[in-house]
Amino acid sequence: MTEARTPLWEVFLRSRTGLSHRHVGSVHAADAVMALQAARDTYTRRGEGLSIWVVPSAAITASDPAEKGMLFEPAASKIYRHPTFYEVPDEVGHM
């Protein structure tokens, strides 16, 4: 099983109750059809899924973990972006 013959595929499942596909893991497979079968056999054994997507891992462009300070920390201090920051006056009632 060389990486060249059976590259990595990322697996996304939409569950019975879910609205969108969620990343659940990855499989090695020779091509897209086999990746779909491997994903079915590996990740839906307990009735988890109603729909499967597989995507070549190489097709995903990922952020660099070393840049997480630059990318994500500036958001941490902006707590006013969360709805819980605001006090809703009683007069508003249910929103």
Binding site: H28, M34, T42
Partner: protein
């Protein structure tokens, strides 16, 4: 007629039970063979896939044995699976052969699933409602087994030089055992629309096999003398060894519960 066999009481004269046991033995024997790959498969993905296939087949066997036991063929599903000797097993010889390499395992699954998919689809219309219900569930599983095995066979045949050679050798090895699938079913049950006549499924099987072999760049082996005997309890030397392993715990600890 109930007769005492080596391992207990088994009603072999009941036609319907005979049908159920044939199909249950097929499913259990192939299910056990596939389960032997657990811990030995070439990758984690294959490991899970083969175990899934095995569990589908063992589930089918359980349902069929339970129904056979209900009809008086034996005490319960466990005694039918674990307390009968090889001469009382009526599975196809094809299914008891050792796994061989991955190509043999895949080719056998393909040749069998290409028959069982139309068989279960036809049996889903059985006049017996219990069998029809089992068939309806089994058909979905067999359809996936067929797709899975066909996709692998195509890639082995149309893959590397070595995988092509091994896949062709697997077909040649297994071909003499394929004729047994089409041996006549019990004529009374067929006439009563309880079960499909296997010979009537041969054309569908031929179409599936020829289409997949063509895509896999594999050649269909020449027609040859066909092995027979499994339905009458005359097996290859391999079944006894397989059952000795499969039944060892049940025989060493009779009636043990989890």
């Amino acid at each position: 007629m109930r007769c005492r066999t080596r391992w207990g009481i088994c009603d072999v004269s009941d036609r319907f039970s005979g049908l159920l046991l044939r199909r249950a033995d097929d499913a259990l024997v192939l299910g056990h063979r596939l389960s032997e790959w657990t811990g030995h498969a070439p990758s984690l993905e294959k490991e899970l896939a083969l175990a899934n296939l095995a569990l589908d087949l063992i589930g089918q066997a359980r349902a069929l044995y339970a129904l056979a036991a209900e009809k008086g063929a034996g005490e319960d599903e466990d005694s039918l699976a674990y307390l009968r000797g090889d001469r009382e097993y009526t599975n196809l010889l094809l299914l008891e052969l050792p796994n061989g390499d991955f190509a043999v395992t895949i080719a056998r699954l393909f040749l069998y699933a290409a028959f069982m998919d139309p068989f279960w689809r036809a049996a889903a219309g059985s006049r017996d409602r219990d069998l029809a219900a089992i068939a309806a569930k089994a058909e979905k599983e067999a359809a996936y087994h067929l797709r899975h095995a066909a996709e692998w066979l195509i890639r082995l045949g149309d893959g590397t030089e070595e995988s092509h050679r091994r896949a062709q050798a697997a077909l040649e090895r297994l071909w003499p055992y394929t004729g047994e699938m089409f041996e006549p079913e019990d004529e009374v049950l067929v006439a009563a629309d309880v079960c499909p006549e296997p010979a009537g499924l041969r054309e569908a099987w031929n179409r599936t096999v020829d289409a997949v072999l063509a895509e896999a760049t594999l050649s269909r082996p020449a027609e040859c003398w066909m092995q027979s005997g499994g339905r009458a309890g005359r097996h290859t030397e391999h079944l006894g060894h397989m059952l000795a392993v499969m039944q060892s715990v049940a025989r060493a600890h009779p009636g043990a519960k989890w």
